[in-house]
C-alpha cells in the first residue's frame, strides 16, 4: 500500500448488539476490504462495554488481529460466558476442524441440554454438523473462513432460547465451486441461485465421487429434526430450509454480492407439550 493511501474504516463505535453472524461477517468484510486496498482496514471498536465484553468472550479480537488494525481493548473483555458454545475460530485446514470438534465437547452438551432441552447425546450430532460445515469451507471454498456458535434468548422473536451457528468464508462461492462440473447442464440458467439449488437441494458437488455431497444434505436433515432453520448465502442468492416459526423466504436472489459463502443455522429450544 502506497504511503499516504487511505484505509477503510469500519466504524463500530455505536454498535449496541452483535450476534455470531454479525461478528463473522465483519471479519469477512474486513478481509475483502484488505484484499481490495492491499492492507488491513481500520476498525473502530464499540464504545459499549457490554459489546466489547461480549466480543472478547467470543474471541473476536484474536481473529480480528489478522484482519483489522485496531487499538487493543482493555482487560474488560476478559472472562468466559456460559452461553458461548464455540468462540470465533478460523478454519483453513483439516486440523482446524478437529480443533473445533474438540473445543465444543466440553460445554456444548451442557448448553444444548440446559438452554435447548436437547438430550445429552445431541452433542454428537451438533459436532457432526460443525464438522461438516467447516469441511465445506476447506473442500469447496479453497480459502479460509470462520465459525462461531452461541446460545441466546430470542425472547421477543421466538420466546425461547436458540443456538446460532455461523460459518463464513472468503472463497469462490457455490457457483465458482460447481461451475466446471455442472454449469453446462444448466446452460444460460447457471448462476448463484441454480448453484445453491444444485448443492442444497440435490447434493451436487464438484467431486465425481458418489460419496461426496452428503454433508449439506445430512445437516439439513438433522436441522429439520430439531425444527431448526438453515440458510446458505453465496453470490447474490440465498437459499434456506425454513421451519414454520420462521418467515424467511426459502429462496432470494438479487442480494448484494457476497464473495464466498455464509451458512447460518438456528437451532431452537424444544417445545415441551
Amino acid at each position: 500500500m502506497a504511503l499516504g493511501a487511505e484505509k477503510t474504516l469500519f466504524d463500530a463505535r455505536h454498535l449496541r448488539w452483535v450476534d455470531p453472524n454479525g461478528m463473522v461477517a465483519l471479519l469477512v468484510a474486513g478481509s475483502v476490504a484488505a484484499k481490495a486496498q492491499g492492507g488491513r482496514p481500520r476498525l473502530g471498536l464499540p464504545e459499549s462495554a457490554d459489546v466489547i465484553g461480549y466480543l472478547g468472550r467470543m474471541a473476536f479480537f484474536e481473529a480480528a488481529r489478522e484482519v483489522f488494525d485496531f487499538e487493543a481493548p482493555g482487560r474488560r473483555s476478559a472472562g468466559s460466558s456460559s452461553d458461548v458454545l464455540l468462540e470465533i475460530t478460523r478454519v483453513a485446514a483439516n486440523a482446524d476442524v478437529h480443533e473445533v470438534v474438540d473445543r465444543v465437547q466440553g460445554k456444548a452438551g451442557a448448553i444444548l441440554a440446559s438452554k435447548l432441552g436437547y438430550p445429552t447425546t445431541a452433542v454428537v450430532q451438533f459436532s457432526v454438523i460443525l464438522s461438516e460445515v467447516c469441511q465445506n469451507i476447506i473442500e469447496h471454498a479453497e480459502a479460509p473462513g470462520w465459525v462461531a456458535a452461541q446460545a441466546y434468548n430470542w425472547a421477543r422473536r421466538l420466546g425461547r432460547f436458540v443456538v446460532v451457528i455461523s460459518v463464513m468464508d472468503v472463497g469462490r462461492g457455490f457457483r465458482g465451486s460447481l461451475m466446471d462440473q455442472h454449469s453446462a447442464r444448466y446452460a444460460d440458467r447457471w448462476g448463484d441461485t441454480t448453484a445453491l439449488e444444485a448443492a442444497f437441494l440435490h447434493g451436487l458437488t464438484r467431486f465425481p465421487d458418489s460419496g461426496r455431497g452428503q454433508g449439506i444434505q445430512q445437516i439439513r436433515r438433522q436441522v429439520r429434526r430439531w425444527d431448526g432453520a438453515i440458510t446458505i448465502r453465496s453470490g447474490t442468492a440465498r437459499i434456506g430450509q425454513v421451519p414454520e416459526w420462521d418467515d424467511t423466504p426459502p429462496l432470494v436472489d438479487g442480494l448484494a454480492p457476497l464473495p464466498g459463502s455464509q451458512i447460518s443455522i438456528i437451532l431452537p429450544a424444544r417445545v415441551t407439550p
Partner: protein, 193 residues
Amino acid sequence: MTDLPIDPIAIDVGKLLNKTVTSLYSHLVTRPTGRAVRMAIATQLQSAGEQSLSLIDLSEVVIIDFSCADEVVAKLLQEYQDNEVHDAFFVFRGVHEPHRDQIEVVLVRQGLAAVVETDPGNFQLLGVHSDREDRVWGVLEARGMLAIDEIDSVFDDLEDRKTLESLVHRGLAFRSLISGRIHSLSRLVEHLM
C-alpha cells in the same frame, strides 16, 4: 473353527486414529482423517492372506462424521467388494446410537450393507437389505453356523436359499471353502470381543 481358513483380527479404530494421524486427534472427523484410517486398515489386511475377517472396533470413537464414515466404512467395503485377489469380511463393533445414523446413511448411499454391533452382543444388518435378507440373516445369526446338509431343512423355500447365497456374496455371511459350512460373522469374531 477348524474348517476356517481365516484367523479373524481385531482393529481398534480409536488406537489406529491416534497412531495413524496424530495423537492430537481424538475424533473421527474430516475426510483426510478417514482416508488415512482406511489406508491403515488396508495395510493391516495386506498380511492377512487371500481371505480375511476383521472386527473394526469403533467403541472408543466419540464422534464420527459423515465424511469419515464414508471413508472408513463405505469406501472400505467398496474397496474389497469387487476385489478378486482379497476376499475381505468385516464386522463393525461399537456402532452405538450416536454413530448409527452416519454409518447407515453412507451405506445406503452406496447401496451397501454391513454387520454391525449396536449394543454389546446385539448384532444387526445395517444399510441396504431386503426384509427377506434380514430374516434369513437373523436365522443364521441365531444358529451361528449352518452345515451343508442343514441348509435345505432350515430354509425349505428356494428364495430363502438364494438369499443365503446372496448374503455370502455380499460379504454378510462366511462360507468355509473347506467344509462348505456357512457361518454368521458375529460368531466368528466372538472370541475377539
